[in-house]
């Protein structure tokens, strides 16, 4: 008998169809990966199993969890099953824990609400659960609070809460999307180990084909609220028939066509850059704590080159980016663009600033929602001494929008009228409009779905060929960096630990940290991408 069986599940929220005829099953001890892009209904499928759907939801069909008909049970019975028969792990570990209760209390709560045991026993079992997720007592006592833990450690606490009662089914909704690549590998290994040890079934929801291909037994691919294809993970990649599955797979390993170019003259020269931050003193009379965010970084970026900067959160890459953009003064070293310093005295040099632009990660948060696109894309004009006006300005807007694949008519619209991918195109248009020499792409494709990401990467390759642009491509996503850069820098704890041509670094990494990063990155099976 299946542990979880979803049959013909339909879901409407306030009359909008979300899921249509979704069927899948999970057996004990089996890992089923559900893959889809944002809006495909994969998370809603998980919440339908938990019966934690938003207000205004109407579900029909059958969801059977170890013999219980979830759609028919009253709320009281559902509360008894949640946490006990089925545990859940969420995407965002930073906010998934209550900030004002200790981790021990939060793990023990799962036990206390389902079993009539004394608090001391619940705490002892919470300790056991935390040990199982590799948070040992000496470093992670029960009295720790979430803010004292890193993202990966918090995710382990969430997992401990989910498995404390040894549920039969574990649902993991994008459990590693917000984590660094090495942390991701550790969490995936932990989940796999727990599933095997307890003989749990696991429903693993993700947008990343490579993540599930390494661990799942079965794979289900969803699009627009429907299951388009499913099958055993071992063979699905070879046997997949549906055009959407094929497109998704192709986009996951997409490498844009790029024109090879010979190295040109140095454009950006970074020499011995040091940036420290002072934190407030920890004790009343102690010395202030100093964080060395960037410790003597040097590199050169040649004109027309695409350089990757890879590193995990906290490695100093954001600080370095801000320093290059002239948003942050450095304590030591120099940053020069075409020989001109980014900083003159204590102020950013406008003449240099106007020759570089940046595209950020979040296509939703980086635009003022109350301005029209025409005003948004012309924002860099404030860097010019004589910004174009009238017809000249309109022509510049049209040209920028056309070059990123949008139409001049789009300039009258507001940002909420565009999808994530279109917004990122607008962000690129905004960067292009003053014809910069250097564009810094700070995790510019990280928030995008794989197919959209492939399109944006193609656009970037095309723009670079047409306008001779130079890119500094900052990302934690190794596969993306590999596909779009000529050369790559690997950064760790404020230092560049490895530098070299992209192919060489990925094929034969020399530094131990680079080797660790590349080993941790999830990969699609050989020969499919």
């Amino acid at each position: 008998m299946n542990l979880l069986r979803i049959a013909g599940l339909n879901l409407d929220i306030h009359g909008t169809p979300i899921l249509r005829d979704v069927s899948l099953s999970v057996d004990p001890g089996q890992i089923v990966g559900v893959i889809g892009e944002s809006g495909s209904g994969k998370s809603m499928t998980a919440f339908a199993v938990m019966q934690l759907l938003p207000n205004g939801s109407a579900a029909t069909g059958r969801v059977t969890l170890s013999g219980h008909e979830m759609l028919e049970l009253p709320e009281r019975a559902l509360c008894k099953l949640r946490g006990n028969e089925v545990g859940m792990v969420f995407q965002e570990p930073m906010t998934a824990l209550n900030p004002i209760r200790s981790i021990g209390q939060q793990v023990a709560e799962t036990i206390l609400i389902h079993e009539d045991v004394p608090k001391s026993e619940a705490m002892a079992r919470a300790r056991e659960a935390l040990n199982r997720v590799e948070l040992p007592e000496d470093r992670f006592p029960l009295t720790r609070y979430p803010h004292e833990l890193s993202g990966g450690q918090r995710q382990r606490v969430v997992i401990a809460m989910a498995i404390a009662l040894r549920p039969k089914l574990l649902i993991a909704d994008e459990p590693t999307t917000a984590l660094d690549v090495t942390t991701q590998a550790q969490i995936l290994a932990l989940l796999t180990r727990l599933v095997r040890e307890d003989g749990m079934g696991m429903l693993m929801i993700t947008h990343d084909l490579a993540v599930v291909s390494g661990m799942a037994d079965e794979i289900v691919i969803m699009q627009n609220g429907r299951v388009v294809e499913s099958g055993p993970a071992a063979t699905l990649f070879e046997t997949m028939q549906h055009p959407y599955s094929k497109a998704l797979l192709a986009a996951s390993g997409h490498v844009p066509d790029r024109v090879d170019r010979d190295g040109g003259a140095p454009l950006l020269e970074v020499r011995g850059v040091v940036r420290d931050y002072r934190l407030p003193r920890k004790t009343l009379f102690g010395a202030p704590v100093v964080i060395h965010a960037v410790k003597g970084v040097s590199f050169t970026l040649e004109r027309g080159e695409s350089l990757g900067l890879v590193g995990e959160s906290g490695c100093g890459k954001s600080t370095l980016t801000r320093a290059i953009l002239g948003l942050e003064e450095v304590q030591e070293g120099s940053i020069r663009l075409d020989g001109e310093p980014v900083f003159t005295g204590h102020t950013a040099n406008r003449a240099v600033r106007r020759r570089m632009q940046v595209v950020f990660q979040d296509p939703y948060g980086s635009f003022n929602p109350r301005h029209r696109v025409s005003r948004l894309v012309t924002e860099p004009f404030h860097l010019l001494d004589t910004p174009p006006t009238g017809a000249e300005r309109e022509a510049a807007i049209d040209e920028a929008l056309i070059s990123v694949g949008l139409t001049p008519a789009d300039k009258e619209k507001y940002i909420h009228e565009f999808s994530g991918g279109q917004r990122q195109r607008i962000a690129i248009a905004r960067a292009l409009i003053i014809k910069p020499d250097l564009i810094i792409l700070d995790e510019a494709v990280s928030a995008l779905d794989v197919q959209v990401r492939a399109q944006i990467l193609d656009l970037l390759a095309d723009l670079s060929a047409r306008f001779g642009l130079t890119y500094l491509f900052i990302s934690h996503d190794l596969s993306v960096v590999r596909s779009i850069t000529d050369r790559v820098l690997v950064m760790k704890s404020g230092e560049i630990v490895e530098e070299g041509p992209t192919e060489r670094v990925f094929d034969a990494p020399r530094h131990a940290y680079t080797q660790e990063l590349i080993a941790a990155a999830p990969k699609l099976p050989e020969g499919v991408a």
Binding site: R82, T95, A96, N98, E109, M161
Partner: protein, 314 residues
Amino acid sequence: MLRYTLKRLVSLAISLAIASVVIFLAIEILPGDPAANMLGVNAQEDTLAALRDQLGLNGTPWERYSSWIGGMLTGDFGTSYTYRTPVAEMLGERLWISLPLALYALTMSTLIAFPAGIWAASKRGSVADVTVMGVTQIGVAIPNFWFAMLMVLVFAINLRWFSAGGFAGWDAGFFAAMKSLTLPAIALALPQASILARVMRSSLLDTLSEDFVRTARAKGLTRRQALWRHALRNALIPVLTIIGMQFSFLIAGAIIIENVFFLPGLGRMIFQAISSRDLIVVESAVMLLVFGVIVVNFAVEIAYALVDPRLRAR
């Protein structure tokens, strides 16, 4: 936590010092000579000078400031120009009305606002929610002096449950005294409770949509348990801020209500002292109010830290 408390204490002391300078300077630059005011327009120049000397109005500003502060630190607030009685005594008497009134009103407002706000948030969009929002909207909009007069009309004149004004005095017994403070406290509490209930509701609604509440539900907590165990304490921080601000308002801002009910409280005293240029009384009373407000805000900050472990670590 100790470090946090010490830091707050230091900032409390600095705030008090700055406030005392500001109050002193503000009173200094006020036009009007208290001596002339006391002796009338026909006073002789030498009598005026003698009185100024007696009142300590001569001396340099620095001398007068330090004698004022030094006096207050030792409990000597000076002598009122008009009443010729020690200011400390006057303040003490008035404080025994204003402080209980403020606490009474604050307790009442919290006891109304918390259940109303929590109820409305837990049943968002329901009739209960709409009712609470509607009633509090009216509560915010009604001027409290008008509501006070309305209550006097209904409860004192028609029903004769309460007296229309005046204070029975603590000598008349606790209940008699509290009874004469009840209508003023209700009048003060109504708008405060309305604001507080709305803040409680919106803060709780924000917290209920947080990820950790969803995590709690996934553990098997009911909607109600998730609200009481996880959302409520997190929602308290903005509510505490408002309570702190309201207490300040209740101590200092009761002038109108004290006048409506003929209560001999601090507000009325300050009002009278300003009209008669009794600067020493104004100075000391305002300083006392500032002290109260700063101490209350200190208490609120300590309460933040008790609620939120992230602050304790700072």
